[in-house]
């Protein structure tokens, strides 16, 4: 089994805010991340697939195709956007990095060929904070 990873980037605004809570409760739980006018990050997204290298190409998966797929179904929807307002697959969800990683997984999986398995979505919100989702 070989693991292949593609790194992509997107720059986005977001806030952590539960609409069912008061402003005070949101600030108590989320601190500065609850700023009602949003803040932002340069997100680094690592998409890892796994499989057996094809005998003809030596590839687990053509990484150019993986990049195109991720750009079309994820990056184009997230980059230079407001994650709370502009992203259809994040509507009615808390816009945490955890939930975003899960949602990104769900965006990618349906578009992979049968012989390629999505292994991990690693989403770095900052250099010090990142999440991993294994499905």
């Amino acid at each position: 089994m070989v693991y292949l990873t593609r790194l992509e980037h997107f720059n986005a605004a977001h806030k952590l805010f539960n609409p069912d809570w008061s402003k005070e409760q949101n600030e108590e739980v989320f601190g500065v991340c609850a700023n009602e006018n949003w803040h932002g990050h340069n997100f680094d997204l690592y998409v890892t697939v796994k499989g057996i290298p094809d005998l003809g190409t030596g590839f687990v998966y053509d990484v150019k195709k993986l990049s195109t797929l991720v750009k079309l179904h994820v990056i184009d929807k997230l980059d230079h956007k407001n994650l709370n307002l502009d992203v259809d697959f994040m509507q009615n969800k808390m816009c945490s990095t955890e939930n975003l990683a899960i949602a990104i997984w769900e965006q990618i999986v349906p578009h992979l060929p049968e012989n390629v398995t999505l292994h991990c979505i690693k989403l770095c919100e900052t250099a010090r904070i990142y999440v991993e989702y294994y499905g």
Binding site: W38, H39, G40, N42, H80, K81, N82, L85, T126, A127
Partner: protein, 138 residues
């Protein structure tokens, strides 16, 4: 003869939302010039800030300046104002100034310059992303 000036650097970071927009232009012109950076609902960055201070080390301390003091100055003058904020909506500095990386660097320079001793030289380097960064003064 060797110049006995030394440059000291402090790195900090802040995470902020912004958009690039000229209110004197039409919507179409803003989109044409600023592209994705003009998104009505803002986008954001992890900004990495490098503050460079140049001076002669004090013979008593060996310091150009106390880096803990510089860190606190940056926190008070810059991070408390910009971190986890919307630069267009939440800051007085960018209420009427387009928050491009260039203008942010100029603003940061002005805020720190006012508090630093005149014997010290100051330069700001601001990374908007890993690939795009600005320096002021050039």
């Amino acid at each position: 003869m060797l110049n006995n000036k030394v440059a000291v650097f402090r790195r900090e970071h802040f995470n902020a939302a912004h958009r690039l927009n000229n209110p004197d232009w039409t919507v179409e012109e803003n989109k044409r010039v600023f592209g994705l950076c003009n998104n009505d609902n803002y986008h954001g960055h992890n900004y990495d800030l490098e503050v460079k201070v140049v001076g002669v080390p004090n013979p008593s301390t060996g310091y150009v300046l106390d880096m803990k003091w510089l860190s606190e100055l940056i926190k008070v003058e810059i991070l408390n104002k910009f971190d986890h904020k919307n630069l267009n909506l939440d800051t007085v500095e960018f209420a009427t100034v387009n928050p491009s990386a260039e203008n942010i660097a100029i603003v940061i320079y002005g805020l720190l310059r006012a508090k630093l001793d005149t014997s010290l030289d100051l330069k700001i380097r601001l990374y908007e992303t890993e690939r795009n960064f600005v320096e002021y003064p050039a």
